[in-house]
């Protein structure tokens, strides 16, 4: 019984991990290549979820919603880049933090104004509803497995793009030594836009995928953003590989901690207090892991810059 529970939680953790990776990948690239702290990356995830939910409701089809939401998220990301972010590349981190914080305030309020404060629902697509037997007497939701598969597929695609294409080579070069790109005659602004749009689309994709299983509501990106930051700091800023491993680690720690700690707490506290305390401690666990890793390896697990 306990191993089944652990297996389910591990799957949940991995699935949360790949979602986290899709958000963190864009963040770490933008950060690594442009030295730009984008707090607003989390709202791009939220915008993706809203776009997916709204477009799916409009077209009546999850798949059409997903298909339309991706380019929409891309366009939205490019619009933000054009309006706000590109004016911040040359500024210090403090200015970047503040201005992108302003974007968060605006967009969180914006979706509230347009869609209302109540969570939006997005139905699980017909083809992926139901469950898959993964052990005797245990059905695991098909949709969650699909998220895991889609996330791993995207990670593979991203790995291919970054490691095997010319644009990816430039991105990697930029992450380890940004001034060099300009010296090589690369159109840095174009590259920045490319990375930015791509990152926004990945985050939007994560949002759409998460929409049917999480509640789509204002501010849903905020806590995920913080976790994504933890991921890129643990993984080493600018490293996609580091982000992948750290995202799975954080996803597992967070999910399994959340499931196990309340039970552990019950040994010491009464049930309701145990549930609350356990959940909070589980949320803290990730930060403890980060502090420990940074204490041992200040530049993260896979440092890119020398």
């Amino acid at each position: 019984m306990n191993t089944t529970l652990l297996l389910v939680q591990a799957l949940n953790g991995l699935q949360f991990g790949v979602l986290l990776f899709l958000v963190a990948a864009g963040l770490t690239l933008v950060f690594g290549v442009m030295d730009f702290i984008n707090l607003a990356h989390g709202v791009q995830y939220m915008v993706g979820a809203y776009l997916g939910a709204a477009l799916a409701a409009m077209t009546g089809s999850f798949w059409l919603g997903l298909l339309l939401a991706l380019p929409a998220a891309l366009v939205f990301g490019l619009l933000l880049e054009w309006l706000v972010f590109r004016h911040l590349y040359a500024r210090d981190h403090l200015s970047q933090v503040l201005a992108t914080f302003g974007v968060i305030l605006f967009l969180n309020e914006g979706v509230k104004a347009v869609f209302g404060a109540a969570p939006l629902q997005m139905p699980v697509p017909e083809a992926l509803s139901g469950g898959v037997p993964i052990m005797e007497g245990l059905l695991y939701p098909t949709y969650r497995l699909a998220i895991l598969a889609a996330g791993l597929l995207s990670a593979g695609l991203l790995w291919f793009l970054v490691e095997r294409t010319r644009a990816g080579m430039l991105v990697r070069a930029g992450a380890s030594n940004a001034p060099m790109l300009g010296a090589l005659g690369v159109d840095v602004n174009r590259l920045f836009m490319l990375v930015f749009g791509f990152g926004a689309m990945l985050a939007g994709f994560a949002g759409v995928m998460a929409a049917p299983i999480l509640s789509v509501e204002p501010g849903m990106g905020d806590n995920l953003l913080i976790l994504a930051f933890v991921v890129i700091v643990i993984g080493g800023i600018g490293s996609v590989r580091g982000a992948f491993i750290a995202a799975l680690l954080v996803g597992l720690v967070e999910t399994i901690g959340r499931a196990m700690l309340p039970d552990l707490m019950r040994l010491m506290l009464d049930p309701s207090a145990a549930r609350q305390t356990g959940a909070a401690l589980a949320s803290m666990l990730v930060y403890v892991v980060m502090a420990v890793i940074l204490a041992v390896r200040p530049a993260g697990l896979f440092p890119v810059r020398r």
Partner: protein
């Protein structure tokens, strides 16, 4: 230029002292002004870090929250004497700053921002987990603190002037710190760390001391915040609140504590004014923040200096 740095705050303090007698004496106005002054203290302490030491912290609200939760814990134990609660709260906040700062200040730049954020989140989740103090829902105090056994702080006017005195004291303290030998080393290390090292100053102990002092001040602000609202919730410790504090500092300008003072007052008043205007006031507030970053690089203090 220097007299202006002192003249502006003095003018503001005078205006705040007069406010209750010239039409801002009713409950709502005084609550608002108290809030502005308390955030003024917190923002000034943050400006010591950001403007003085070059440490961009995205976890300052946690220090405020630690002070506020010290009040809660003592209130729960029926300890409500200000002369006990305040030193304890300040001490706890300073200790929290010492422990987290000792780790955070070893890093720099982006990592410092992230690690202060992470510690802030840890404090936030801890507060959420304190089921006996209401968890997520927060905790309502039995009442305001007593001062030497009297219930003076219940008096709105007295509370107003208590906040004003603490605010002025904070301003004086930080102003003096920045001019002292200690502050000179901080400023030198911010502008050119290699130079500071080359004459023999390793910045770490100075930065850590500044972090602890800022934590103590923020803890005191937390005590006043808890007493002003007679209520404390984990929402006080969110990273968004830390972002608000940073905005106050930048809005006012980094040139000195007078900037943070003006920034905090402007922030609270703009927030109040906008929220009367529309329910979705953040739709205006967000872009306002972006525009400030784009066009008001030296903050309000910079505008006044030019004007």
């Amino acid at each position: 230029m220097r007299w202006r740095n002192a003249a502006l705050p003095l003018l503001i303090f005078a205006a705040l002292a007069l406010a209750p007698f010239v039409g801002f004496g009713q409950g709502h106005s005084l609550t608002l002004l108290a809030r502005a002054m308390i955030f003024g203290m917190a923002a000034i302490s943050l400006s010591l870090l950001v403007g003085g030491a070059g440490l961009v912290s995205l976890g300052h609200a946690a220090l405020l929250g630690v002070g506020a939760y010290a009040v809660v814990v003592l209130d729960h134990a029926r300890v409500t004497e200000a002369l006990v609660v305040m030193p304890v709260a300040i001490g706890v906040a300073a200790l929290f700053a010492l422990l987290t700062g000792a780790v955070a200040i070893r890093t720099s730049g982006v990592h410092f921002i992230m690690i202060t954020l992470a510690f802030g989140q840890m404090a936030f989740f801890t507060a959420s987990s304190l089921a006996i103090f209401g968890g997520d829902d927060g905790y309502t105090l039995y009442g305001r603190l007593e001062l030497g056994g009297s219930r003076l702080l219940e008096n709105r006017l007295f509370f107003h002037f208590a906040c004003l005195a603490l605010l002025a004291g904070t301003w004086l303290l930080v102003e003096a710190l920045l001019r002292s030998r200690f502050g000179r080393v901080l400023r030198a290390a911010r502008e050119n760390e290699t130079r500071a090292r080359a004459v023999g100053f390793a910045p770490y102990p100075f930065r850590l001391a500044a972090y602890v002092i800022a934590g103590a001040i923020a803890g005191l602000a937390g005590v006043m915040l808890a007493n002003s609202a007679e209520f404390v919730a984990p929402a006080y410790l969110t990273w968004q609140r830390s972002g608000d504090l940073l905005f106050m500092v930048i809005l006012g300008g980094l040139a000195g504590p007078h900037g943070a003072l003006m920034g905090a007052l402007a922030f609270v008043l703009i927030e109040e004014w906008l929220s009367h205007l529309t329910e979705h006031w953040r739709l205006i507030f967000g872009p306002l923040l972006i525009l400030c970053v784009f066009f008001m690089r030296d903050g309000i203090a910079g505008l006044l200096r030019r004007g």
